[in-house]
């Protein structure tokens, strides 16, 4: 991550004189307006009778009405009223930076920054600064607690940040404070029907789309949103508490995560926003040569569909022999990684119901890690490590360094983490400050041993991959596994055309696409992967992840013509564009390979069939391309005929319109290869 351009224009710094302070106190009210570079997003900070507020507008439309700011502290006076503005400054930042990997090789980062320095007008004179960054596609703001004599160590009992939404929007949300963490299918409702929602929370009407989330969650509780019932449309930051009820333990100087409000004309445009990444700090890792996006496959799906088990014994999935079969296939088919779940000791019986017994540097009988890893390296493939903690953090952290050192010794560069459980260490939520701390410790420790992290059942993404680019991808979604193993039969067909607009706004999603065998009569008669085959391919483009799994068994890919798309599709991109879509209905995304001139396109539909006409004006002008189209077969249908597909090709240019017929629950995947 390298800075290529950085223009900072300091607009004005004002240190108020005694006279202006007096004038201020008399007027009782003060407003500071901050405009985005092109002026379409406007934030107003308001000081009224010593209390602090903000509001947000977009294209002269109110988006967030006057909303509270501040804190309640444990056993200390509130940090919410009696404020004066000590100073404020505005800065124009016009930057672009290069990503180690990502949806886009180069990211524009243009915003207006305002820093408002506040102090309470009493004998403690406690200080609180508010930073706003106003982009053309939204707003970030954070609280800074500067070093000061009368506020050193403290505990936050409530963050008073509110989001007084201007309209009763239609919301797409998952509920907070439930046992399955983020693993819910999305609810669509009026904003007024929410109780507690996770972020990113998407809201929209016919005129505008808004998403609330946070960026740079480093040492704080994660923010959920609570609907206030007195007016049915104001959301309040509801920090996930420690088991003892405290929200955050802090020590000045410190800053909160950024509260983010992304806004655009329509939901599909939000997918193109880089606001969350831009609000994170730059890469802190000196050497990133070992960090590399890639595809992987692994011993995993056969457990979910009941053919194998994570436990040792006759059903054991993790065996040396089976791993070698995966490695052989991967080596021939452009798949870099092979994951082996259940490889280590401690998986006996109902492991998720007891205190964890995992040993992270000892292989289970029947699996020889050293041999398998060696075999993989000889074939040009890499073993992907796996640490299931069963949400036992103390147990895991005691072994963490040793476990990563063990992986490094065996040439393993990547680990999939698991935190299965309803609470962590018996009492903490998965999303409170306790787990945020653990997770950031995990990322740093992994980096020390040059290991990339793919985290499941963990804290939501807030863009830390910019700062620690070994933080590759994560779950935090109701993923493919539910289709294979959940007693409810799996996700609905519209799930995969909701999550890129919602969960996807936070960052890469390890959804694990690529299932070619859709039903499992023997062991899972009621389960089904609710897509056609062509849609499975399209997911490699529509759901972004730098580590993409080819999730099915090698036997189901062997000699399958459609596997060619998985072979060809890259995992690192020069440019990404969400072209068209409607939440819960369909999505079309185009991406350019980072390392070639090829483009790829994915189009996915919900349970309805539909015809799409896609303008190819994203392609470079004047260049001819061979478009290889993996489309639904004529009678394809996710339920009755999921495997029907066809591969065709045609020559196209930037002037072409591509006509795509998507089946019910279907999709299309296209590879564009430059030709002379």
């Amino acid at each position: 991550m390298q800075l290529v351009k950085l223009y900072i224009k300091l607009l004005f710094i004002s240190a108020f004189s005694l006279m202006s302070l007096l004038a201020q106190a008399q007027s009782n009210s003060e407003t500071i307006e901050v405009l985005s570079p092109n002026g379409q997003v406007k934030v107003s900070f308001l000081l009224e009778h010593g209390s602090i507020y903000y509001q947000v507008g977009f294209k002269n439309m109110p988006i967030i009405n006057k909303s509270s700011l501040g804190f309640e502290l444990l056993d200390k006076p509130q940090l919410a009223q009696n404020f004066k503005i000590v100073a404020s400054e505005q800065t124009q930042v016009n930057q672009s930076w290069q990503a180690v990997w990502g949806e886009n090789a180069q990211v524009e980062n243009n915003y207006t920054q305002a820093i408002i320095r506040l102090a309470q007008q009493d004998q403690l004179s406690r200080q609180l600064n508010i930073h706003f960054r106003v982009f053309n596609d939204g707003v970030g703001f954070r609280y800074e607690f500067p070093q000061q004599p009368n506020l050193t160590s403290f505990a936050i009992s409530k963050e008073l940040t509110q989001f007084a939404m201007a309209e009763n929007y239609t919301a797409w949300w998952i509920p907070a404070y439930r046992d399955q963490r983020y693993e819910y299918q999305y609810l669509k409702s009026a904003l007024s029907s929410i109780d507690y929602a996770h972020t990113p929370l998407l809201m929209q009407n016919k005129k505008v789309a808004v998403a609330i989330h946070e960026a740079a969650l480093v040492d704080y509780a994660s923010m959920t949103l609570k609907l206030l019932t007195d007016n049915h449309k104001t959301l309040e930051a509801d920090l996930v508490p420690w088991a003892n009820g405290v929200k955050v333990y802090a020590q000045a100087p410190m800053s909160t995560p950024w509260r983010t409000i992304q806004v655009a004309d329509s939901a599909v445009q939000l997918i193109n926003s880089n606001l969350i990444l831009n609000l994170n700090e730059e890469n802190k890792l000196q050497d990133v040569s070992w960090i590399e996006p890639s595809k992987y496959m692994g011993i995993w799906w056969e457990m979910h569909i009941g053919q194998k088990s994570w436990s040792p014994g006759p059903m054991q999935g993790a065996t040396t022999e089976r791993a070698k079969q995966y490695i052989d296939f991967a080596a021939k088919h452009n798949i870099k990684g092979v994951l082996v779940e259940g490889w280590n000791k401690g998986w006996e019986g109902n492991w998720w119901e007891r205190k964890p017994t995992f040993i992270f540097d000892q292989a289970v009988d029947g699996f020889d890690l050293a041999q398998v890893s060696q075999y993989a390296q000889e074939k040009g493939v890499e073993l992907v490590g796996h640490h299931e903690t069963a949400a036992g953090i103390a147990h895991y952290e005691a072994q963490m360094e040793q476990a990563f050192a063990y992986y490094q010794k065996h040439g393993i560069r990547s680990v999939k983490m698991g935190y299965v459980g309803t609470r962590v260490d018996g009492g903490e939520w998965h999303h409170g400050q306790f787990m945020v701390r653990h997770f950031n410790k995990l990322i740093k420790t992994a980096a020390k041993y040059q290991i990339m992290v793919n985290a499941h059942e963990t804290i939501k993404d807030t863009g830390l991959r910019r700062t620690y680019p070994n933080m590759m991808t994560r779950e935090c979604v109701r993923g493919m596994e539910y289709n294979g193993g959940s007693p409810d039969g799996g996700n609905l067909p519209n799930h995969t055309v909701i999550i890129p607009f919602t969960r996807g706004l936070s960052g890469p999603t390890d959804f694990t696409p690529g299932i070619f065998n859709f039903a499992y009569q023997e062991k899972r008669p009621n389960n089904r992967v609710p897509t056609t085959l062509a849609k499975q391919l399209a997911l490699y483009v529509t759901i972004y992840s730098p580590q993409q799994m080819a999730a099915d068994l090698p036997e189901n890919y062997q000699d399958h013509p459609a596997f060619q798309f998985i072979y060809d599709v890259p995992t690192d991109w020069r440019k990404s564009i969400a072209l068209a879509g409607d939440v819960g209905e369909y999505l079309v995304v185009a991406r350019q390979d980072k390392h070639s001139e090829q483009w790829f396109l994915g189009a996915t539909s919900n349970e309805d069939a539909r015809n799409l006409s896609v303008q190819l004006d994203f392609l470079p002008k004047g260049q001819k391309f061979k478009a290889v189209i993996y489309a639904d077969g004529a009678n394809a249908h996710w339920q009755h005929n999921p495997a029907a597909y066809q591969i065709t090709s045609q020559q196209v240019t930037a002037k072409s319109n591509l006509s795509l017929q998507l089946a019910a629950g279907g999709g299309a995947a296209v590879q564009f290869i430059p030709v002379n």
Copy 2:
């Protein structure tokens, strides 16, 4: 309500001999199948190792998989296992009955009844009978606790009824255990994302629509549905508890309400089901001459839009003079009733925040009830009474008889009830046994004084209007009032094309349509009625209620050509048919006037404009009709141009197709007048 046909064919009664009992105990498993009259709905009752279950199929498709039955009792052994079947019988019932009023003058009631008599195989030998009624459009079942020596008085701590849904359907639901009672906009999500839902709960996929609700809730807790998280698709009956945690206090002999499962090919067909009514007992009122559906208007909307107040003083809405204005308008415009909210003593200040101070037989200063009622009667209009209890039941019940006697004395035949508050009498839910008891007492007391009831903020409808036809209509929905007075700005445009498919399945809905003035710049700048004018008219047909309000101010109706439809539309019907629709999208309903040969049709859309072609084959063949069409104007739009409408007429027959252009948030209302 008069029985016109009743055929009962007793199919078989089996009283098991000692030998068959022994055989049964040895086999450990027994199944009793019950088929609907046409065979398309099948219920299986299962006894397995002494435990009891049921399952439901529709057209050979599983709808509800094997699901538990039974009870946990307070301080007593469970009534769930160790059962044997003592006897079972099946009866075919082929009946039709005439409604005092309703959507249909005559109701077909054809079902197969099975009664399964169970006894526990221990020294207590407690008995429990299960009654199934299997209709072509669904199933009702209830538990009967017969009189018996070892189960007399008891308390139910948990009802074990489950609904193991066969698929992870798309659900349309409102959350239970929230402070706004049933007044939420509907959530659309996968079944797997529910936590606690109220009934009716609508579930659907492309093949089938299913609704779970209950019928004949008389002295029991109301049933909410809890999603079991171990499999994400089994719902469990979750009875709303008393403040002390007990669910139901009971005394044998008694029967529970019917648990109902309505099923059809599509959601719109569920609207045509009479299953809930059929499961209620016949009319118990001897004299029904005083019961009459009608339209009403009243002093109410001006409070919601902030122009007047419920409190006495300068803003007081309830004045003799204003009431006379309403009466004058009503008398000229075919509106039978005039409601006056805030007419009685006790409305001072924030009445909803204190212990109630209402006096139900004393008018506030400025309002002379005797004079107004007399004036109304002279004009051929009736005053509609109003009892706001502020959820203070003890306070209200102490005055109830006296209050109804007072109304009867003044010629008042109808009362609107209010139960505003988050809990009843300080601790009870609005929907537990406490309130069910109160509500049934209310209906009976009202009947004694020949008063019809329109109840707001009360228990959901379970079809008791069949038994007590003075139970006219009720709210139990997020009604029109939210559009005028809610700080969230109001309901979304799709709300009115969701509630007939959900809330509407339970019974009449006092939504209060007919607003002609859509925005209130001065007092409620952010509020709006989210429909066009033509859609307001259509709601009189699409949302069924025997008491329909003309909810706007008389000034907004005066000399308005479109008011003619409200003038003409009846409130009692010979026949009703939901013709077409899609939940949250649109709905088309036709109804025939009970007292003439006229038909009426309403068509409503969500936020999208759409063209509909309606086949008029519901009209009697060979008869010509003049169709008077109240349609959206060419540029009508709920937000930008709600008042644009046009009235046209054309001649049609049963062979015609009527083409309707609905605007965004629009609708169409049609009156069909027979012509020669």
